[in-house]
Amino acid sequence: MSNWVLLFPVLLIIGSSALAESVEDMALLPAGGYTPLYSANKNVENLEKQATYVEEFWLDKVPVTNRQFMSFVTVHPEWKKSQVRVIFADSHYLQQLNEDSLIEDKSELDSPVVSVSWFAASAYCEAREKRLPTTDEWEYALADDGRNNEKIQQQVLDWYAVPNEKLPNVGSKPANGFGLSDLTGVVWEWTSDFNSFMASSDPRDSGQKNLFCGGGSLNASNPRDYAAFMRYSYRGSLQGAFTGKNLGFRCAKDAK
């Protein structure tokens, strides 16, 4: 009973902040598509026939922060690092937090939360009546409707090239055309269907015959987009319980 008394104000605070989050802190992306790395479907007339066509959807403007994730585990203690099941998160889960899942370094409160598994990220989004974006939605958001494509690729490569320093606060870089920040340059992000790209360790075994290294990679829609190769192969290597100190997430929501 006493637990409930304590929990109640916490619920109120978190409940109201979650509400504000979904309205102000998300951007509405129009329906559309992008040219994926793995197939050159550039000349498709009908937008909806594009393999990567996505419906209108909402996406968080910035990645989820340590502060937000900490309030989530307060209400859902099964996601504290002391209580999480090993099937849902590996031993590095929330390594930036202490045993009570609180942050030691207060300057990291508004940095992206990292070392979260796919299961934990999904649970966080579901608790806010959201979901993780699909890989197509995420790539579409990054492609930014073709605005400054070369520049985006270069930014991504520059970021991949330097070792990660301390993670900055979210939203410290300018937003893209959709109003989204930090899609590159800060952390990698989980997608709901990260496990959908059928690339095995040898892609020749899988459905993606156009993408293995060497001459075959010329079949990719843009062989110079090394950054995209890296993202696709990284996603293909992930497991749901995996956590990485450069791997965070943001949430999405259907527009309907």
Binding site: R85, I87, F119, S122, D193, N195, S196, F197, M198, Q239
Partner: protein, 196 residues
């Protein structure tokens, strides 16, 4: 003196027993699965008989499970055939003591009715078998736990991995069969190891 001792013993027993009973009751209400068990997934599925189904209903016996969809004409029937082969090779004493379950990738098209037709036409409409569907996010969660990759294509079909999973009675994956049509020996062996 003996009477007093006895009395103390009884009081001590009562004092301990009451909270102990309450404690046991609590544990029974929410059995905690092994940390690496599939039964940690508490999502709700619906069977081909229209009944709600949870993974922990597979507990107590080993299980043979796979993910398929019913409009898949080439690979999925072979997966089911291999599962039936495993079922046929169970020793008579174990018949009905191994669960078989297939979970659909296709939340949209694999309705309860369609699953029932499928179960009937493939001869898996028996008590040992569960054929179930659920919401896309629930399907995804099971697939991620199993390490099963899949993608829905624009035609509504699915590209997916091929695997039959053997779970022990606690829901922990003990063996994965990934090549079809020839290699059920290992699966049979894995099940044999789980006999008591």
């Amino acid at each position: 003196m003996r009477k007093i001792t006895k009395f103390i013993w009884i009081m001590a027993f009562l004092a301990c027993a009451i909270p102990a009973v309450a404690h046991t009751h609590e544990e029974q209400a929410i059995p905690v699965p092994k940390s690496e068990s599939l039964f940690n997934l508490t999502d709700s599925w619906t069977t081909s008989n229209g009944k709600p189904f949870h993974l922990n209903e597979l507990s107590g016996n080993p299980s043979v499970i796979a993910m398929i969809y019913t409009s898949c004409k080439d690979i999925c029937p072979l997966i089911v055939e291999d599962m039936k082969k495993i079922e046929r090779r169970l020793p008579a004493a174990r018949a009905g003591k191994v669960n078989f379950a297939v979970f659909s990738f296709d939340s949209e098209r694999d309705t309860t009715k369609k699953l029932k037709e499928y179960a009937k036409s493939h001869g898996i409409d028996s008590l040992s078998w569960v054929v179930a569907n659920s919401k896309p996010e629930v399907v995804r969660r099971l697939a991620v736990v199993l390490g099963m990759k899949y993608k829905k294509t624009k035609t509504g079909d699915f590209e997916h991995g091929i695997a039959i999973y053997i779970l022990d009675e606690a829901g922990v994956v003990q063996y994965v069969q990934t090549n079809l049509g020839k290699n059920e020996e290992e699966a049979i062996l894995a099940l044999k190891h789980m006999e008591h």
